[in-house]
Symmetry: C2
Subunit: 334 residues, 2 copies
């Protein structure tokens, strides 16, 4: 899922996203709650109409963002109070109001409010986060009013297998239409990420979407698909796009490098996107050196298109029963 | 002509430009000379191939930019030496090397090297600039090698009618395929701009393109077309686009204003562009408030499309013999 935190995938239009067959984008409850706010989006006809996106939208619950605020939030059984990073104003998220907000926006997939812990953490803290995440998921499920909004639960539990098991065991009785693996990709090692993603994915029903939050890079996507994960979101492709980093089959390119200034080749010779069909590395390198805004636009487009192609190829390989061979062929970038 | 100083109309792709029937863009000799440089552009197949633009390109000669450097340039009969604003490196423009550069880039219209004076100026200084501009135009004409590059001359003369007459009289014997009116839109009053544009346009052959450099706004375009001008360039629509100012039939809108935050209407109800067909003022206002890069992209697109529509309508009105009525209908924005 391309990330459109503030109701826009940075620099790209819905037409761009459809051009490489994007089916769902992610937006963010925390950011949209603060700006432009629920009333504005409702008045404009809901989030799809507001951002002119007619396909699926998933909103993160805001749990992750609020817990990133650290000193500016107070956690209680009822919910979490926090101060806006924009203007310091006070707000509270509860399981109920976060579900109501996402339903008011009319999103297709809403995420339950969860409690993230900063790693490393004591097991007691991890267990308390799991307990509260479970309780809040129950309250989120009870607060649902719209049958057309799919509520996903989020498995927490840090890097502890027992805690992950307890979290999954608490959520599965709710029979939610999908489950996410949260609390990872927050600074732990790649090996820990892969181990916990694989362990947790195996706890979740194979017939429902399994979503690894905050991932990622080409190698992380391949590893997570191998672990059974179906959905991802990450700012990585668009952030790289803004910073001059191109994702290619031969690894990442720092497009400002002197070696690209006269390189007539496309970013990635195997890529079928419009940017690779149209522009040379030399031109895109020039755009970044001249600090031209077309550079981030073109590179964000390519990076997202590149990951969309990768996932499309992964689906084909799985369907054809050739996943292992496909996975191993990607090893060059791992 | 949308301005693409550094081989990119800021934020937009060639596809965008073609969508509102752009036939020619402007690029800049001074900027491209310094970065990425002639060798790179030639090696990539010329400026059209480099920036993936298959329609016309006009390059300004760099005269205006060099004279803006003031303390960093030295003017002589032979040419003008200057230091790069990027790295302080020394360069020289001569009539001959500026023509050779533009021909090497393969542009469709090349501008002669001219001498701009800062206004207000003594008549002696204006006259000397006219003399040198005439002499340099002769040298530019003699330096031409490619029959497919059209060389335009530039009429100087500040705000003095006699100097403008002497400048035009010096250039017309060269029988160039087009003539520009330079040295205006540099801080003089709107009345002076209109008066000098009208006076100078009348000195130039009606059967050849007359190009008013550095103009402009909707009201300036209407006034200049009324004076007989055929071509324009200005950073105004794209600069406004980046800064949150929308050009509309009802005047400019500062899109960040609180009044637009819940406004479901398009930027301009009479505009046929893709942005007006797709997005609300509320959404674009949100993008600017959230400092999202899609905002400048969408607004730059709309502003250029809006001016393209205005010029298209002007051509139709002139062809239909209804120009005066059309001009007077635009008075609401004048």
């Amino acid at each position: 899922m391309p990330v459109g935190t503030a109701a826009t995938v940075k620099g790209l239009t819905p037409d761009d996203l459809r051009a490489f067959d994007t089916r769902i984008v992610l937006a963010n409850t925390y950011h949209l709650w603060l700006r432009p706010g629920r009333d504005t989006i409702e008045e404009l006809g809901g989030l799809h109409a507001f951002m002119s996106w007619d396909r699926n939208i998933l909103t993160d619950s805001g749990g992750f963002q609020v817990f990133s605020l650290e000193s500016r939030r107070v956690l209680a059984e009822s919910g979490v109070r926090f101060r806006s990073h924009l203007d310091g104003s006070e707000h509270e998220f509860t399981p109920e109001n976060v579900v109501a907000f996402q339903e008011a926006l009319g999103v297709d997939v809403a995420m339950a409010l969860d409690v993230c812990v900063k790693l490393p953490a004591e097991l007691a803290e991890v267990d308390e986060a799991v307990r509260l995440t479970t309780r809040w998921a129950e309250r989120c499920a009870a607060a649902r009013r719209r049958p057309d909004t799919q509520l996903f639960g989020i498995v927490q539990g840090g890097l502890d297998e027992g805690a992950r098991e307890r979290s999954a065991a608490g959520l599965l009785p709710l029979d939610l239409p999908g489950y996410a693996i949260g609390g990872l990709s927050v600074g732990e090692s790649r090996e820990e990420l892969y181990r916990m993603a694989r362990f947790t994915a195996a706890l979740l029903p194979v017939e429902k979407p399994r979503y690894l939050m905050g991932v990622g890079t080409i190698r992380d996507l391949i590893a997570a698909v191998d672990a059974g994960v179906d959905m991802f979101d990450c700012v990585y492709p668009t952030r790289c796009g803004r910073n001059g980093r191109a994702l290619t089959r031969d690894g990442d390119l720092a497009i400002r490098n002197a070696g690209f200034t006269r390189d007539p080749r496309p970013l990635d010779a195997t890529c079928t996107c419009a940017v690779c069909a149209t522009y040379s590395r030399a031109y895109i390198s020039h755009l970044f050196r001249a600090e031209e805004m077309l550079g981030p636009r073109l590179l964000s487009y390519h990076n997202l298109a590149r990951l969309a192609q990768l996932m499309s190829e992964a689906r084909e390989a799985i369907a054809a029963g050739t996943w292992a061979a496909f996975r191993d062929r990607q090893a060059v970038t791992l």
